[in-house]
Each structure stands twice: as C-alpha cells, then as structure tokens.
C-alpha cells in the first residue's frame, strides 16, 4: 500500500544503485559476517573438531566418549535436568495457576511476572552463594534447624552434590515455567468450565477431560524447555560443585582448561557435540508441541 502510494521514491532510487541485486544485500552483510564469525564458526569448529584426531580425520574423539566417567557425566546431567524440569514444571504450573486466577491487571500479577523475568535469568555464582548462605553448612536455615535438633546434613553435605544442584536449579526453573506456562493458562476460557458443569461434570471431570488434555501439550512443551535449560547450565554448577566432574558442562570445562593437566580439546568438542545433539532433539520436540498447543490455546 505504501509502496504503491509512493512510486516516485522507488523509481527515482533505482538508477543510482546500479543493479537490483547486490546493494540490497550489502545492508545485511555486516551482521551476517559477525554472526558467521562468532556464532557459525564456533559451531563448525565444535562439529568438525569432534571428528578430527591427532593426525587427520578420525572417530577417536567419538569413541572416547564411551568411557565410564563420560557416560556417568551424561547420566548425571540427564538425571539432574529431568528432576529439576519435573519439579520446576509442577511447582511453576501451580504458581502460574495461582497467579492466573487472580486479577489479570492486578499488582500481584505484575510483580510476579517481572520478578520471574529477573529470576529466570538468575544463576551462576550469586545463586550458588545464595543457597550456601541459606542451607550451606553455616547457612541461616541450617543453623536455625540445627538449634531445633534437626540436622539436614545428617547423611553428608548434599548441597554440593547432585541433589543440591536439583534444588538450586529449581530456583530459576520455576520462574521460567511461570513465564512460559502463564500464557497457556490465560487461553483457558471460563465458558469451558461452565459447559462442563451444564453437562453435569464436576471439578474432577473438568480437569480430567477438558482442561487437562488442552493444557497437556503446553505443559509438556514447557517441561522440555526447562530440561534444555537445566542441561545447558554451567555457571551455577561450577560455583557450587567443588570437585570431580559429575555433569557434562563441568567435564567439558575440565578438558578445555589446562589447569587440570588433562587438556583435551578434541574430547571437549566431542562432548559439546553430544550436548548439541541432545538439546537439538529436545528443542525439536518442543517446537512440535508448540504447534500442537497453538491449535486450541491462543
């Protein structure tokens, strides 16, 4: 419409530009070049590097993945990501429902959504410190409970082990769930509940046969997003877990930095490729579920 209303601009400009094709594309060139060097190139380095050994192309890095501690790292990573995704998804969905049933323009909702935006990004050293100050061996809650005869670390300091990591991860998983799941809950119409009731159904019937199936794809999709989020997290684990290499990102960092004396960039690249493959599978499923969600809830 605008182009048609302004034909002079287009026709007047064309002769100066010479051909039609090249100058157009030059505008996008700096951005594409930058992304090529700092996003595409590293990805290519990881993928190619995983298949290059000491002397030329080889599968040695990939076959090296089949070692006890590497397999253990992947198992631990998958367990932590699954556990924190399930806990985060359930708790986040409950919280989202508590918010969604309130006033849509109320203060509560505004505060909770902006706080979630901040907390979902919150991680790394600060988050690890926050939990160490709370339930670490001299943490506030730990000491308080200890005065009352409860020792949360009776079976060892689990905060710096895998269960602790799950607990700490839920701190950013729940807000992320809330952000992702709230729009789906907003898509539920009160008429559906009324329709269920007019057909003689109760609360159980409504959740089992109407709202549950409608929300299921959105819920599963959000849970997958949470899984990928936990699977990719490095900083929090690095700051919290002191030794060993129990999860994949930490194993990668040990192979990458030479401090440990086991510098092996090839293996780091193979592990990174493994992470990319897993995240790609999860995100593909997420995209498929998103398509399904948008059929009913918009």
């Amino acid at each position: 419409m605008i182009a048609a209303g302004n034909p002079d601009v287009k026709t007047a400009r064309r002769p100066q530009e010479g051909g039609r094709f090249p100058l157009h594309w030059i505008g996008a060139f700096p951005f594409l070049l930058y992304v090529g060097v700092f996003l595409l190139l590293p990805t290519v380095i990881v993928v190619v590097g995983a298949f290059v050994g000491k002397d030329g192309p080889s599968l040695s890095n990939i076959t090296d993945l089949n070692q006890g501690f590497v397999v253990n790292a992947f198992v631990s990573s998958l367990l932590i990501s699954t556990a924190s995704a399930v806990v985060g998804a359930v708790a986040g969905a409950l919280l989202a429902y508590a918010v969604a049933t309130g006033n849509p323009r109320g203060v509560l909702r505004r505060v909770v959504s902006s706080a979630s935006g901040v907390l979902a990004q919150f991680g790394g050293v600060t988050l690890a410190f926050a939990f160490i100050a709370t339930i670490g061996s001299v943490g506030f809650i730990r000491l308080w409970l200890q005065d009352r005869g409860i020792d949360i670390f009776a079976h060892g300091v689990w905060l710096t082990e895998l269960p602790g990591l799950v607990l700490v991860y839920t701190y950013f998983q729940i807000p992320l769930m809330l952000l992702v799941f709230l729009p789906a809950l907003d898509g539920i119409r009160p008429q559906w509940r009324e329709a269920t009731e007019s057909l003689g159904g109760g609360t159980w019937h409504y959740w089992r046969y109407v709202a549950g199936p409608l929300l299921a794809p959105a819920f599963l999709g959000a849970a997958l997003l949470l899984f990928a989020n936990a699977f990719s997290a490095y900083a929090t684990a690095a700051a919290l877990i002191s030794q060993g290499n129990p999860i994949v990102p930490i194993a990668i960092s040990n192979f990458l930095t030479s401090e440990t004396g086991r510098n092996n960039p090839g293996l780091a690249q193979a592990l990174a490729l493994g992470m990319v493959v897993i995240v790609a599978i999860v995100m593909t499923l997420y995209a498929l579920l998103q398509r399904r969600t948008s059929r009913w809830l918009r």
Binding site: P42, I45, L94, T126, A130, I132, A133, A238
Partner: protein, 265 residues
C-alpha cells in the same frame, strides 16, 4: 462459581503464593544475613564485609572491567543489530525470518558449547590482535542477541518504519539520517530495554569469562569467595540489587509508556 469452590481456590492461592514467596525470598535474605555476620559465634552484626569491598583492588578492577564490557556490548549490539533490522524491514523482508532465527539461536546452543568453539578463535585473537578482557564483548554481543532482538523487534513493530523512512527519503534524507535521526528517536523505549537487558546479562556473565580465563566481576567474586566468603557475598548482593534495579527501571518505564499510550487512545 459456588461458594465452596471459591473458598477452596482462595486457600489454594494463598498457600501456593506464600510458599513460593518464601522459597524465592529466603535465599536472598539469607545472603544479606550472611554478609552482615560478625566474626565468631554471638558477635554483633557488622558491615565489615561491605566496607572491605573497597580494600580489594582486584575486585574494584573487575567491577570497572565488567561495567566497561556492559557499555561496549550494549553499543556494539545496537550498532550491529538496529541498522540491520531496519534495513531488513525496509528492503529485504525475505530475510526477516532468517535474521530472527539466527538471533534466537543463542538461546538453544548451550553457552559452554559456544565457549568450546570460540576458544580457538579467542586464542588466535589474543595472539594476533590484542589480549584484553574487552575481547569478551565480541562473544557477549552474541549472548545478548535474543533479548536485544525481541526488545528491538517490539519497538520497530510499534512504529510505521516504512512511512517514516519514505517520508524522510523523499525530503532528501540519507540512510544514516533515516536510521539515527528519524527511526531511533521514535523507539527510544525499545533501545533502552535492549540496553538494560544487555547490561544485566553482561554483569552476571560467568561461563565465558571463566573458561576463556578473563577476570570479570563474577569470576572475581567466585575467586574471592574461596578466601573471604562474607565480602564476596556482599558484592554478590550488591550486584544482584543493581541488576534488580536496572530491570525494575525497565519494567516501570514499560508500564509508564503503556499507560501513556492508553491515555492517548
């Protein structure tokens, strides 16, 4: 809605919100508590951990470097992304989906994977160009792309880029004038959003700096934590409050703008 159900819903909401509030507020409160502890059992509260922040030159240097990184990253992000997005909107609409896909890609590629791929690039840059912490900005621009893209895209969608630019061009303005004197001032809110998000992200970044062996704020806090837990937690609280403050500014600026628009309509 029946009365019993309304009551049940209210009880459910109160319980969930109280539990959620406790879970999210207690750790932050505990950090504050920890940073004001005195030395030894039963010692009175002190602010020693806070006042000793200034006695660590490495820490002050790291704060300065992180603020510098945040500034460089924000400016570089705007210079790289804004003209491209405007240009794509005006002249290359076919490319819009591809640019969007590229910009959202860093959300799905784990940061640690990017570090693995970038470490040879950074080694090359450190040897052949200069070795400075500010090189990290190159990677940080990639990290902030998804957030910056969304903020800028929302801003561009709110104004009629095409009409504005054609009006300006027909009055003889060049492309530089169109971008920096016509379109950018019309989306100042979105520019502010994109910058604040970038600053918050850069100030909290740990993975890249730690693995590429640069000492930014978070790495310094981490290393200080091994020696002086109180002070490092005090700095953590301070940096967290600063990030909160930035994002609060963002959310209130957004709310004010929405209110203004509503009043106008």
């Amino acid at each position: 809605m029946t009365r019993a159900r309304r009551l049940r819903l209210r009880v459910f909401r109160v319980i969930v919100l109280v539990l959620g509030g406790a879970f999210f507020l207690i750790p932050i409160g505990a950090m504050f508590e920890f940073s004001t502890r005195g030395n030894g059992v039963g010692a009175p509260r002190t602010l020693v951990a806070w006042t000793t922040i200034v006695t660590y030159p490495d820490l002050l240097g790291a704060i300065r470097d992180s603020l510098g990184l945040a500034a460089i990253t924000s400016v570089a992000m705007l210079v790289l992304l804004l003209p491209t997005m405007i240009w794509v909107r005006l002249r290359l609409p076919r490319l819009k989906r591809i640019i969007e896909f590229i910009c959202l890609l860093p959300l799905t590629i784990p940061a640690i994977v990017l570090v693995v791929g970038l470490s040879p690039v950074y080694r090359w840059m450190a040897i052949n160009l200069v070795d400075t912490i500010f090189l990290l900005s190159f990677a940080y621009v990639i990290l902030v792309l998804p957030y910056a893209y969304r903020a800028l895209d929302a801003g561009l969608s709110g104004i009629d880029v095409k009409t504005l630019s054609e009006a300006a061009r027909s009055l003889g303005a060049g492309w530089g004038t169109v971008m920096f004197r016509i379109i950018a001032p019309n989306m100042s809110g979105a520019l502010l959003n994109a910058c604040l998000l970038s600053v918050a992200l850069v100030l909290g970044e740990f993975t890249f700096a730690n693995l590429l062996s640069y000492l930014n704020l978070q790495v310094e806090i981490f290393q200080l934590g091994l020696a002086n837990a109180g002070t490092s937690i005090a700095v953590s609280v301070a940096s967290l409050l600063f990030a909160f403050l930035l994002l609060m500014v963002l959310s209130f600026a957004g709310a004010a703008r929405r209110a203004r628009r509503m009043r106008r309509a």
